[in-house]
């Protein structure tokens, strides 16, 4: 053997070994089912690193009241953005999480336009939920002293919030930046060979691979949010949750799949799981499941299904596969409640989906969230009542019921401070809608009209004004927003655990900002309870199930319901209480819904043919927003039996409480400035509350009860 052939052979060997090795690595890393998965074992998951964010505080020494076994209603907001949200900062908002919590406790904080914001009454719980992706980053882009701001792509942000820019004049510039970020979440990755790519892969942290991202800034923003939540948490008096928003959407059509995530602990992951990790909500639930395995419990809460183009409550999964039992259980394990009402409209139902419901046309927002130009959002798949019905259908075909959630409301404010009061409204996006001309409730002054048109042209947006009787108005979509809503939980005491568990049980209700309280029970022997006894509630808990729960069939007995609502002491009186029933006809396999008035104000009786209360005569004087005095009820209470009950039909029942009509914010805005309200908007609204449903489970089905957060009573009800 000569030297030459040895050299050739060894070179060949080296080349072959090298490429085999490369091939091995490639398959080991990228194949779905790698043989050895050596490299996978090197991976760690940075999103599962747990950090204890608790702060050292003196033990609260004020004696907290003992737990109430009959439970108290606590009101709060679980959807609040501060300066750490990529868009809040663009909207001119500089309120910190500390400011937000102070506001919730009743203190005054400032709107970006300079005026004061204060609650009529403090709230019981609050969670700052900034957008997880790019959390804290936009602020760093705008701060021209930060390292990251030296990159070209941060230019539009530079000193966006400098004093002279804090005026409505910059609205066009601002809204354009907002939609350009949403559209391109993953910008500026490093080249493939870069060490950061490898580090990102090894720690399952795509964010590290982006030039547009500074992981340290991101972590410190998250740590500050967590610190603030823990600092303001005051067991017995005021509850906070560490939280964030998982701002995801479908790949095409911009279907909004946003969810808020809250932690039941002073500990949390070192960073939030965001849309940069994955757009698929199923991956979020996987992450939540893994956190739960590590002892950290979380829930996620979808919102603005109305602007999801029908994608939030689809009949298929994110990738278009069929929903199966595993999917349904996973979804319900992690998403016990849905935000049904907020500033960007209400998602109870839509007039096209519930043509027989006279109250369906309530605060409808019909465009996709964040779409530019504004684009219509398909109603079907975006509203909770239809989702409940579709859930029954899915269960009917053995796919499990992924839509067995309870209801809450929240504000989604981006100023740190929710606007819940129609007569004191500042909408949600700071400079863009902080005064009446911008949000379209009063006509535009000449120079502002010109400016708006110029901006819209400069940013390539369609004309967004409308000519009406009193002049030309801004018509940028803010007229469809409103002063809503609140999350309410029935809990033993005002502590993190107690309130969090209420969400998991789905013993919750949603309001449009009003502090209505509503109790709701179902059982087979509730008529044995004395409705005038002070033990009514404890008896009802004993003999029945409450909102959020399943009622199993009891041979073919007809269930009885107790519903009891109390007015907001600062709001209008109650007009009526309704029970909304949805069911799946066990013979035809078709879903149905029906609205029953069950209790009328002022001692009026429900018409048994139409199921409607007579008019109680309450009116609103539009010239000054005063309302008819002495009409309406402070409380409404009724024992009710379903007149159309069929024991074989899967069904659900939930309560809707309606106040007497009052002025809508747009009417208040107009009359305060000497105008008539706009003729193309609702002048009045009926503030309302919705309870979580109670599901009736017929015996004829092989009791496929998905183990949810809710209580299932497999016991004798007598």
């Amino acid at each position: 053997m000569n030297i030459k052939s040895i050299i050739v052979k060894s070179i060949l060997t080296v080349v072959i070994v090298y490429f085999t090795f490369l091939g091995f690595i490639y398959f080991d890393v990228y194949d779905d089912r790698p043989i050895l998965s050596l490299f996978k074992k090197l991976q760690s998951n940075s999103a599962l690193e747990i950090v204890d964010f608790s702060v050292e505080k003196s033990e609260s020494i004020s004696q907290k009241p003992p737990p109430n076994p009959d439970r108290n209603p606590y009101y709060g907001d679980l959807h609040v953005h501060t300066k750490y949200s990529f868009d809040a900062y663009v909207f001119g908002v500089t309120a910190s999480p500390d400011d937000a919590y102070k506001y919730a406790k009743g203190e005054v904080i400032n709107h970006p336009l300079g005026y004061e914001m204060k609650l009529r009454e403090p709230l019981d719980f609050y969670s700052v939920t900034d957008h997880g992706f790019y959390m804290g980053m936009i602020q760093a882009y705008a701060d021209t002293s930060s390292d990251i701001s030296k990159n070209e792509f941060t230019k539009p942000f530079h000193n966006l919030n400098r004093e002279e820019n804090l005026t409505v004049l910059s609205a066009g510039e601002r809204s354009n930046i907002f939609s350009s970020i949403l559209g391109a979440a993953i910008i500026q990755p490093y080249p493939d060979w870069h060490p950061k790519i490898i580090k990102g892969w090894l720690t399952k942290n795509t964010q590290l691979a982006l030039k547009s991202f500074d992981y340290n800034v991101h972590k410190s923003a998250w740590a500050d949010i967590a610190r603030s939540a823990n600092e303001h948490n005051d067991p017995g008096y005021f509850t906070t949750f560490i939280g964030y928003e998982f701002t995801t959407s479908t790949n095409v059509e911009g279907g909004n799949l946003h969810r808020n995530v809250i932690f039941n602990s002073s500990k949390a992951s070192i960073r939030p799981w965001t849309r940069i990790d994955s757009l698929n909500p199923e991956d979020l639930w996987t992450w939540q499941d893994s956190l739960r395995d590590k002892g950290i419990d979380t829930i996620s809460m979808p919102h603005n299904s109305n602007g999801s183009n029908g994608e939030m409550f689809e009949m298929e999964t994110f990738y278009g596969n069929a929903i199966d039992r595993e999917y349904s259980e996973k979804r319900m394990r992690n998403e016990p409640v849905v935000e049904v009402t907020q500033v960007k409209g209400t998602s109870d139902t839509h007039p096209l989906l519930s043509p027989d419901d006279e109250w369906a046309d309530f605060e409808i927002m019909d465009i996709r969230v964040g779409s530019r130009p504004p684009t219509y959002s398909k109603p079907s798949g975006g509203y909770v009542r239809e989702a409940y019905l579709n859930g029954l259908t899915l269960e009917f075909t053995n796919q499990g019921n992924p839509y067995k959630f309870g209801l809450i409301g929240s504000s989604d404010t981006h100023t740190g401070a929710g606007a819940f009061d129609e007569s004191n409204y500042w909408s949600k996006v700071g400079l863009l809608d902080g005064e009446p001309e911008n949000r379209g409730s009063v006509p535009l002054a000449e120079e502002n009209l010109e400016m708006l048109n110029e901006y819209m042209a400069a940013f390539n947006q369609p004309t967004s004004t409308i000519k009406l009787n009193q002049g030309e108005y801004a018509n940028t979509g803010f007229t469809q927003w409103g002063a809503s809503g609140l999350a309410a939980a029935w809990a033993e005491e005002n502590t993190r655990d107690s309130i969090f568990n209420a969400f998991k049980r789905k013993e919750t209700f949603a309001t449009t900002g009003s502090r209505i309280a509503v109790r709701f029970f179902a059982g087979y022997n509730l008529s044995s309870i004395d409705m005038n006894s002070s033990s009514l509630v404890s008896e009802a808990y004993k003999k029945g199930v409450t909102m959020g729960s399943d009622l199993l069939s009891n041979e073919s007995e007809t269930p009885e319901f107790i519903v009891w609502a109390q007015r907001d002491k600062n709001g209008a009186s109650l007009q009526r209480v309704q029970i909304i029933k949805g069911w799946m006809d066990s013979n035809s396999g078709r879903p149905h819904e029906k609205v029953f008035d069950v209790a009328c104000s002022d001692g009026l009786e429900v018409d048994p043919v139409t199921n409607r209360c007579p008019d109680n005569g309450a009116r609103v004087n539009i010239s000054d927003c005063s309302i008819t005095q002495g009409v309406g009820s402070a409380e409404l209470k009724r024992l009710w039996k379903d007149p159309d009950f069929n024991p074989n039909d899967k069904s659900f029942y939930y309560v809707r409480v309606l106040e007497n009509p009052t002025c809508r914010w747009s009417t208040w805005d107009a009359i305060k400035r000497g105008f008539e309200p706009r003729e193309d908007l609702h002048e009045t609204i009926q503030e309302r509350a919705w309870s979580s449903p109670i599901w009736y489970i017929p015996a004829s089905t092989d009791v496929e009860v998905v183990p949810l957060g809710g209580t299932i009573r497999l016991r004798d009800f007598n």
Binding site: V55, E56, K57, S58, I61, S62, Q63, K64, P65, P66, N68, D70, N72, P73, E121, P122, T144, S145, H158, N159, R162, E164, P195, K196, K199, E231, Y237, A517, R519, M531, N532, S533, S534, S535, L536, V537, W564, Q566, R567, K569, G603, S633, A634, E635, L636
Partner: protein
């Protein structure tokens, strides 16, 4: 000879000062501290995950030098003047400095003083235990409640309504009472009379006859009980105060001119 020496000396001096004034060396010296380089390298390591090689270190230093040179030349040209970004950044820097310059460790006296100045903030609300008969506004509340009040004195059983939030309230604070029943109702708890049924009180929900069985006055807690909490608040407070104090002190040295005829 001496003359020549003197002439040379003078020429030398002139040249020396000329040189000094034309090429002011101090302005063109760039000193880079070890600390600066080390901190840059540390940042590099934490980002990349390994130590930089000589080439890379040279690059880092070179970048630093170039930045410094450009910065100085910009200063020479007066580019920093009237630049909003720079003004704002400098203003931020000094505010930060003023806020950070406060000491973080407080003496007992500091904490005590802060507590005394802000006592109201730490007031522990008065707490009540009470029960009530409720007469719903849906059913002749005034008439029924006053009749019941009379009956109570005669030990006749009372026909009242259930209240949605419950009958018995244990150790609830004054604020909680306000939240659940409203301001008007809560007034009756200002001078509580224990263990006797009170005349019917009105709320937005109806009328109530209440019996307060226990009452603990509100009080100011002992400093030692809430020491940590006061410390946190004090630090927050000092930070925001530091800047204001500094501004107020310095403000008097400035004269401010604004066009009085400006039309907005």
């Amino acid at each position: 000879m001496k003359k020549r020496v003197l002439i040379f000396l003078i020429i030398g001096l002139v040249l020396y000062y000329l040189d000094l004034s034309i090429n002011s060396h101090q302005d063109k010296d760039i000193y880079i501290s070890d600390q600066e380089i080390i901190s840059l390298i540390t940042a590099w390591v934490s980002q990349v995950g390994r130590t930089p090689n000589d080439n890379e270190i040279a690059k880092i230093i070179n970048n630093l030098v170039e930045e410094e040179i450009l910065y100085r030349e910009a200063l020479n040209l007066g580019l920093e003047k009237d630049d909003r970004i720079i003004k704002r950044r400098l203003a931020q820097k000094i505010s930060f400095l003023k806020q950070e310059s406060i000491k973080e460790a407080f003496t007992k006296e500091d904490v005590l003083k802060y507590f005394n100045d802000n006592k109201e903030k730490y007031f522990i609300d008065s707490v009540f235990t009470f029960t009530h008969y409720f007469f719903s506004s849906e059913n002749k509340p005034e008439e029924r409640s006053f009749k019941a009040y009379a009956d109570l004195q005669n030990n006749v059983s009372i026909d009242s309504d259930p209240f949605l939030l419950g009958k018995n309230f244990v150790q609830v604070s004054f604020n909680d009472i306000k939240r659940d029943f409203g301001e008007e109702f809560a007034l009756s708890f200002n001078a509580p009379q224990l263990n006797s049924w009170l005349k019917p009180i009105k709320s937005v929900f109806g009328y109530h006859i209440i019996l307060i069985t226990d009452h603990k006055d509100g009080y100011y807690p002992d400093v030692s009980e809430i020491y940590k909490t006061i410390e946190i608040d004090l630090l927050q407070d000092e930070k925001s105060k530091a800047l204001n104090e500094y501004l107020n002190k310095i403000k008097t040295e400035y004269k401010i001119f604004i066009n009085p005829d400006l039309k907005i």
